[in-house]
């Protein structure tokens, strides 16, 4: 499926977005992204498997926080960031 990558993470994807990745769940998708683009997952997901503050993941336009969320091959996944501060 196609995954939109937030601009602060595009150094990992050779500045490509969207990118292709696969997974039956959001956790699987993030693991696949990390295989393809090493290091990208830890910048988004902490060591307790929680989505970091300011990171936003949308599936078909709906925000999700649960890494166990099921995904379908045709789903549209967007990884965005809510930037703030000076």
């Amino acid at each position: 499926m196609k995954v939109l990558i937030a601009t602060p993470l595009r150094s990992y994807t050779s500045h490509q977005s969207p990118v292709e990745a696969e997974g039956a769940t959001l956790a699987d998708l993030l693991a696949d992204l990390d295989r393809r683009y090493p290091g990208i997952r830890f910048r988004m997901i902490d060591e307790q498997d929680q989505i970091r503050p300011h990171m936003r993941v949308f599936v078909n336009g709906e925000q999700v926080r649960d890494l166990g969320t099921s995904l379908q091959p045709a789903d549209d996944v967007q990884i965005l960031q809510s930037l703030s501060g000076g």
Binding site: P8, L9, S11, Y12, P38, G39, F42, R43, M44, I45, D46, E47, Q48, D49, Q50, R52, P53, H54, M55, Q81, S82, L83, S84, G85
Partner: protein
């Protein structure tokens, strides 16, 4: 991972870490002129940038952005090419029902003992200790501290500093890689004699006036600890509650800051020791009265030096602004080189780097208009 490359060699270099990236300042031969290079990792919050003195070309950087998780970058060629750690510092995954810790920032980097090439240590916020066996590529949690049954009591609320309590001042005894010290901004000074497998507090004599018992066993706000390379049984500590030193055998901190001028006080963040004279140390006092402004007292910045182990202090302000200069210098932002005479350097939170090529007697501003400076490290780069 790419960043603009750092390309200096065979030179004295200052590695300047800031809230918005990193810069280098490379000295001309006489240390009177400096060439600035950067930014590197523009937009990253760089807490520390350290060159490995064991090889003179491995460079490790602790970085994060405001919105991405913390990480470490390392370079085997002094910054020409960078690689991100494949396993950055991270606490262990918590068991079901347990609240786990999350590294917010990698704050401090220390190269390991000379007998252990490639080994690095990192301190984080929340306060944690991590070890890399391979030049910063992978990092392991130091369970002897991070999972110590006393850790929660030692670190208290783990919140003593505005952007999170920090584990810092990781010191390795040059005679014995198993003998280590750490400092914590919410915990105090701790010592290990088994390379981190176990720890004990080392805070006797040090004040913590924000605690019900002002002389507790732990819970102190240690700002910086320094160990003279030629006298590892001597420690200096800049604490929230004053400037101290300890003869390790005495196991008790002595408040040498009582010998500072009363109108200046002994509050500050960094303390730097002379590379060859253990009784010489520099400090940068800041206003610690009432609401703790943490700026140069009365807007008149000065470095103070002791050359007799803290019995007396001398004000060093030649070349520094005479008034209306409200400098703040953070704990990692003051350093010294190993040349003769020693060069002393500090960076301010207003983005200025000041240098002295005569052991602090006179000062020159060698960079300004940088972002908020978190750390300044001086190192000799090998060709």
């Amino acid at each position: 991972m790419s960043s603009s490359s750092i390309s200096t060699s065979g030179a004295l270099v200052l590695y300047v870490a800031t809230r918005k990236g990193a810069w280098t300042l490379t000295a001309r031969a006489d240390r009177r002129e400096w060439a600035i290079d950067g930014p590197h990792f523009l937009g990253h919050i760089v807490h520390h940038m350290v060159l490995d003195p064991r090889d003179g070309h491995t460079l490790v950087v602790a970085a994060r952005t405001g919105h991405l998780g913390p990480t470490v970058f390392h370079s085997a060629d002094a910054g020409r090419n960078w690689k991100e750690a494949s396993r950055p510092p991270a606490f262990r995954k918590a068991a079901e029902g347990e609240k786990g810790l999350v590294v917010n920032q990698v704050f401090w980097l220390t190269p390991g003992h000379a007998s252990e090439p490639g080994v690095w240590w990192a301190g984080t916020s929340p306060q944690g200790l991590f070890r890399s066996p391979d030049g910063g590529e992978t990092w392991d949690t130091v369970s002897g501290f991070n999972d110590h049954p006393m850790r929660q009591k030692w670190v208290g609320l783990d919140e003593g500093t505005p952007d999170g309590a920090k584990l810092h001042s990781i010191l390795i005894d040059p005679r014995d890689p198993r003998h280590m010290y750490i400092g914590m901004s919410d915990g105090g000074v701790f010592e290990s004699i088994d390379q981190g497998a176990d720890w004990k507090p080392l805070n006797a004599g040090c004040r913590a006036d924000f605690m019900p018992d002002p002389y507790p066993e732990y819970g102190h706000d240690t700002h910086c600890v320094a160990m003279p390379a030629l006298d590892p049984d001597l420690l200096y500590q800049q604490n929230h509650c004053g400037l101290y030193r300890m003869r390790r055998a005495e196991e008790r901190w002595e408040r040498i800051g009582d010998n500072m001028p009363r109108e200046i006080g002994d509050i500050g963040f960094p303390v730097v020791v002379h590379p060859r004279e253990p009784d010489t140390a520099w400090t940068f006092p800041m206003d610690g009265t009432e609401v703790w402004p943490r700026v140069s007292p009365e807007g008149k910045p000065a470095v103070y030096v002791t050359r007799d182990g803290g019995k007396t202090f001398t004000r060093l302000d030649r070349g520094l602004p005479r008034s209306q200069a409200w400098f703040t210098v953070l704990r990692q932002a003051m350093t010294a080189d190993a040349r003769d005479p020693v060069g002393v350097y500090f960076g301010t939170t207003a983005g200025e780097v000041w240098a002295s090529d005569d052991e602090g007697d006179s000062w020159t501003c060698i960079a300004r208009h940088l972002p908020q400076i978190y750390a300044v490290e001086a190192a000799e780069l090998n060709r």
